[in-house]
């Protein structure tokens, strides 16, 4: 619970004009890496991730005065980041005339285009398998697998029941297994 207390203190400082920017800088430093990787696993490229992450923090700045602390700041930030990712991916789809399959293969191509990409390593195969998933399953799998988020908290982030999240996670793992076995 130490993290929560620190969040509360940061929020109090943010509401004081004198310490507003300092508190917000602390919030960025605290959550930037977690949010960055959450976004990066969704949009793959660093430049895209950087754009989305900056937009997320600007939204947080604009909305933090209205944050009512009904949920943890951590949950609220993930919710904003997830929505921003999905909006970004939706925009990318609309910009391209490609179909859904081509869009997913576009993300796979971005994985392959990474300068560190090694097709023989299982970690890279896993990344390719993740990009084959539907967006919602991709979010559920990465939040559970990488961020180790409990279903209860994930339910608040995604506005989805825990049962549905468990089923979605199960399907995602099975699809990933199939992909790795067949590639």
């Amino acid at each position: 619970m130490g993290v929560t207390i620190q969040d509360t203190e940061l929020l109090l400082q943010f509401r004081e004009p004198a310490t507003r920017e300092k508190a917000f800088t602390a919030i960025i430093k605290k959550y930037q890496e977690k949010l960055y990787w959450h976004i990066r696993r969704m949009v793959v490229e660093h430049e895209d991730t950087n754009d989305v992450l900056q937009n997320v923090f600007i939204r947080v700045w604009n909305g933090l005065d209205n944050f009512r602390e009904d949920s943890q700041l951590y949950t609220w930030l993930y919710r904003i980041a997830t929505n921003e990712c999905l909006s970004y991916l939706e925009q990318q789809k609309r910009k391209s005339t490609a179909s859904l399959d081509e869009s997913e293969s576009g993300l796979s191509n971005k994985v392959i285009a990474d300068k560190y990409f090694d097709p023989n390593k299982l970690e890279w195969k896993l990344q390719l398998a993740i990009q084959q998933l539907p967006e919602k399953q991709r979010v559920v799998f990465t939040l559970r697998y990488y961020d180790e988020m409990p279903y209860e908290e994930m339910s608040r982030v995604l506005d989805t029941s825990e049962g549905a999240l468990k089923a979605s996670y199960h399907h995602a793992v099975k699809k990933i297994e199939d992909y790795i076995l067949n590639h």
Partner: protein
């Protein structure tokens, strides 16, 4: 946060293959990226909104502006600070006494020299209409402009009050000794109301003091008599004023005959809608007792022929 072991167990139960994969993310990031990110974000925020506090309003008003605002508006509404008044309020009081007429004069003939055409037009209205335009436009408007369409005979209104009093007042309080117009009028025929009331009480009918009904009935009867007899009289005499024999005949009618006539008319007056009144006064039980021997089919057939069957109270 759940223990990593719980998540690993769950994952291994679903897929041992996936559970065995390292969670290390293979993507690389630029060196020092996270060190620079807070400053980058703050600079973007600073360009847009960090200059002013987020909750401060965009526009400001001078201190105390709204305190005197209502008084200023009311003063302007009352005309104290209208266009002229506003200037006068700002100027010294001495200016209120000075006329706003320009004191400068133009030398005589200046405008004529400047432009003969403008000099001619200067004192003339810019627009004109043909003579008699409105008379041709609408006869109705012309008549309306001249006055009322209807005329009253001269002296009619002066004599009207006396005529009304002559017809009404003598019947109740006796003849008018001096009419308002100053013209002596012969006393009209009087219906003795006391005798009528007495007779009605004796016959079991109550008069209720509605004397004006009788006078109205008498007037109506006289008018009807004149209307129906006038064409014949007119044909015989060739038109013109009412023949004096009719007036004499009316005067020969006795009070008793007139009373008998009024009794007949009273029945008509007091019971002009007798049928509907009787219907309203009868309750449903009385209707059923009256119609008890009539079958529903007959009632239904009657209503189909004469009215709505919905209104029928059947047996």
């Amino acid at each position: 946060m759940e223990e990593r072991n719980e998540i690993s167990v769950e994952l291994s139960a679903i897929s041992a293959l996936v559970g065995g994969i390292s969670r290390q993310i293979p993507y690389g990031i630029p060196v020092g990226y996270f060190d620079q990110l807070p400053a980058t974000v703050m600079s973007r925020i600073g360009r847009s909104s960090s200059i002013l506090p987020a909750q401060s309003p965009s526009f400001q008003v001078p201190d105390g502006y709204f305190d005197g605002f209502a008084a200023q508006v009311l003063a302007r509404i009352k005309g104290v600070t209208s266009t002229v008044g506003a200037d006068a309020e700002e100027l010294p009081l001495i200016f209120n006494r000075i006329s706003r007429v320009t004191p400068y004069q133009v030398p005589e003939g200046y405008w004529e020299e400047l432009s003969p055409l403008l000099a001619i037009l200067r004192d003339k209205p810019a627009y004109a209409m043909p003579e008699g335009y409105f008379n041709e436009l609408s006869p109705v408007l012309t008549v309306a402009h001249e006055g009322s369409t209807y005329r009253v005979p001269e002296g009619y209104l002066d004599a009207l009050v006396a005529q009304i009093l002559e017809k009404v007042v003598p019947n109740v309080i006796g003849p008018v000794s001096e009419p308002i117009t100053g013209t002596r009028v012969a006393p009209a025929r009087v219906i003795p109301m006391e005798r009528v009331a007495t007779e009605r009480v004796a016959t079991g009918k109550v008069l209720k003091g509605n004397w004006w009904k009788y006078s109205s009935v008498a007037s109506i009867a006289a008018c009807l008599l004149l209307i129906f007899s006038w064409p014949q009289v007119n044909n015989k005499k060739g038109g013109g004023a009412m023949p004096p024999d009719i007036t004499q005949a009316l005067q020969k009618v006795s009070d008793r005959e007139m009373q008998a006539y009024l009794d007949d008319q009273h029945t008509l007056l007091t019971d002009p809608v007798g049928t509907s009144t009787a219907t309203l006064d009868m309750n449903e039980g009385e209707v059923k007792s009256l119609l008890g021997e009539v079958s529903d089919n007959d009632l239904q057939q009657y209503m189909e022929e004469h009215g709505k069957a919905d209104d029928l109270a059947t047996n």
